[in-house]
Amino acid sequence: MTTFTAFEPEVLDGFRDAVGREHVIESPLEVFGYSYDASFLALDRNTMPQAVVRPRTTAEISRVMALAHERRIPVTPRGAASGRTGGSVPLQGGIVLALDRMTSILELDTANMMVSAEPGVRTVDLHDHCARHGLFFPPDPGSWKFSTLGGNVAENAGGMRAVKYGVTRDYVMGLEVVLADGAILETGGKAVKNVTGYDLTGLFVGSEGTLGIVSRALFRLRPLPKARGVLRVVFRTMDEACAAVQEMLLDGVTPSAAEIMDATCLEAVARARNTQMEEGAGACLILEIDGDGAEALEAQSRRIEAITDRAGRIAFRSAASKEETEAIWAERRGLSSAVAAMAPNRLGEDISVPRSAFPEVVRRINAIAASSGLRIPVFGHAGDGNLHPSVLCNLADPDQAARAHQAVDGIFQAALDLGGTLSGEHGIGITKRPYFPDAVGPVSLETHRAVKRALDPLGLLNPGKIW
């Protein structure tokens, strides 16, 4: 029922020999489950792979890749399929290489403060494992409870704590990568200073599965912060809120998260939680602070109180109890579904601009909302210029669907015009591919192609992605 013909029996047998008979899935009904991810791409018979192959070890991946290479079979790697841009959706049949059985945390090296793990480990599990030993794995994409490390590396996942702790790239010390022909490459290592050769590790981080299969990753860790606190600050305008965040960073009081939401988001949350918005509220910051103990938090909180006061805040609350902390975070966590509840469909976008351009890009998005006649609530990570406008629409209505996609085009253009990028943390995948060549320009595009040709001359690895 796929548009691709079934594999020849000896090919299937080859994959079965490589990973074990029960770990090759070929029934169309089962394979259908590996044809989608968390992007808004429609379900489509053309994205059904011919088979799903589920290796358990690096050696098994290597055997699978060697066979795929020999038989010219496209390979699309997949973790939890929680990506937002179609990165793990197969476009040319072939196999989906599902890495979800590779779930071992291999070594926690407390002396060097590093951990190595397989690609199928859930982000939250790595975090919790390290935390039990007093160590901290900071990358925290919104999907961290179900996303897996292979995907985090392949998409260079960010998260709320990026403002203080950076993104996945900042923690990858080394990788084991199975190349297109099955060869096994080791990059980086535990030496903190390492300039022996090209930064191959960096090349694979964010490569969206187009250059090789990450079979193991080595991450550096930090000491786990001893105390955390939460602040909630309300402003009249997004400009004031953004200015306050900039002031904090300049002043060296860096929150470990600085989540911002606009008036529409506040309205959605108030509606969903049956609460009242503050009179005149136009923006809200939810700030996390961390440090060595209660005193350190108190000092940061006081400085932020003073800074936000100068910026013109209209409400300030520092969570005094566990319950209050929970209540403030619940507002942020419930935001996505509260916004989703405002319309039948939502095109959730992910753009990134220089921090100073945050207020301006929000103004332009508001203008796009006005001209398209659609609501576009904006929330995001104020500290790092990464924002998530949500175009609310009803895709069943062709006119609205057209306007919604035009609005998305406009949002990308605004980000690029302000020196920003198409994606802060979701990657390009399929959904942003049409915008990629213009966004990076011809020289960068050709450089990307040259790298791709060097590592995957047959074009078998996650074909059809990025450009």
Partner: protein, 411 residues
């Protein structure tokens, strides 16, 4: 660019598809789905099944036996819905799609058919209960597989084990006055209680009798087994019979979480029926779970000093009806309650699921058994015969580390 525009017109799967339109396949449900935990392929997960519903509706997946099997593989436990940012009702989608598949294919899967046939006939249930009672009297029920006929632990055995001889035969504690003075209370004895846990059912009736006189109208199955397996006509007939049978009662109390959950939610199924809509709504409003009723009525259980309990929340009670506090309140009065790890995680019982998918149910139960043993409690208590089948099995497999009892047997 390809978008998720609505492609499917009206068809047999339109209603089911409507239930899952809010699913953006984010993956939040993956780690909480008990079946995905024991069978880690996408098809087994809540997200995978919601996608299959859309695949059927959009013509990407043929409506065949394989699809039917895949969509029968759901516990209807709502763990996914609880975690879901958009609160997608996967369980409701499963009921709809199973019905649509049964209509399209002309039949439900063979394995779930017999159970519907038996439970549809009141006489068969009565006959079954009598036969099992006869077998139990001479111990022959042990020849039947324990998934089918669990080895029920009696209240008497429990008291003998934990209470010490002084308490045996002592008068039951005097209850406070009933919830609604003069309310006519009726007991809904579900098939599971009647057939498989007669001692627990007697305990329930003993407690009810302390609060007020109660009726025991002749009534059929609540219909959940039929609704769950694409036999909607049978479900609706049974519902009408139940509405009629309890017309004279002010309160319908049941000690089965699945029955109370089903009976409380009859109204939507008759919303468009001019004859039955009001009657169904009135009936549903009268239904109370036993623990809900006892807590509201101020029932004070007799304390058994030294008894330690852990409580397993039935899916249909905690997530299905929001009843979490009442059973705990009762247990804390009766003894010491030690909370179970992931207390609301489904035990794998789910009606006849454990018979149809014994391996998956067993794998889920093994985790539950470990968690129960982790508490060190003497007794795991629950409030649904579906769970009690599984937990009784876990108790047996634990080699006597704990017992499994219905809440009515320990309060």
């Amino acid at each position: 660019m390809v978008t998720a525009a609505t492609k499917a017109g009206p068809g047999p799967f339109a209603a089911a598809r409507g239930k899952v339109l809010g699913c953006d396949r984010c993956g939040t449900c993956l780690p909480v789905c008990p079946l995905f935990q024991v069978q880690d392929v996408e098809r087994a997960s809540a997200r995978g099944k919601n996608a299959l519903v859309r695949g059927l509706a959009e013509g990407l997946i043929p409506p065949d036996r394989e699809a039917q099997e895949a969509l029968e593989f759901c516990l209807l436990c709502r763990a996914c819905t609880d975690a879901c940012p958009g609160k997608v009702p996967t369980d409701e989608a499963m009921l709809q799609v199973r019905q649509a598949l049964a209509d399209t294919l002309g039949s439900t899967p063979l394995r779930s058919r017999w159970i519907g046939r038996v439970l549809r006939r009141r006489r068969m249930v009565g006959l079954g209960a009598a036969t099992l009672a006869g077998l139990r009297a001479v111990g022959l029920h042990r020849l039947l597989p324990s998934q089918l006929v669990p080895r029920e632990t009696s209240r008497q055995a429990y008291l003998e084990k934990y209470a010490g001889p002084a308490l045996l035969g002592a008068p039951d504690p005097r209850p406070e006055p009933a919830l609604h003075p003069g309310a006519k209370v009726a007991y809904f004895q579900g098939c599971g209680m009647k057939l498989l846990f007669p001692d627990a059912s007697r305990s329930t009736q003993r407690i009810l009798a302390q609060l007020s006189p109660f009726q025991r109208p002749d009534h059929p199955c609540c219909g959940l087994p039929h609704l769950a397996h694409g036999q909607r006509e049978a479900f609706l007939e049974l519902a009408q019979e139940n509405i009629k049978a309890f017309e004279a009662a002010d309160l319908v109390v049941t000690d089965c979480a699945s029955c109370s959950g089903t009976l409380k939610h009859l109204a939507p199924w008759f919303a468009d029926d001019p004859v039955w809509a009001d009657r169904a709504a009135r009936f549903s409003a009268k239904v109370m779970d036993l623990t809900e009723y006892l807590a509201a009525a101020g029932y004070r259980p007799q304390a058994l000093p030294g008894a330690t309990f852990t409580y397993h929340d039935p899916c249909h009670l905690a997530r299905g009806q929001g009843i979490r506090r009442q059973p705990r309140q009762l247990l804390e009065q009766a003894g010491k309650l030690i909370e179970l790890k992931e207390k609301e995680r489904c035990c794998g019982g789910s009606g006849s699921f454990h018979l149809e998918h014994p391996q998956a149910a067993e794998a889920i139960l093994r985790r539950k058994q470990e968690d129960i043993q982790g508490t060190g409690a003497q007794v795991v208590v629950t409030a649904c015969p579906g769970c009690l089948i599984q937990l009784t099995r876990a108790a047996e497999q634990s080699g006597g580390a704990f017992q499994a009892l219905h809440i009515s047997q320990v309060i």
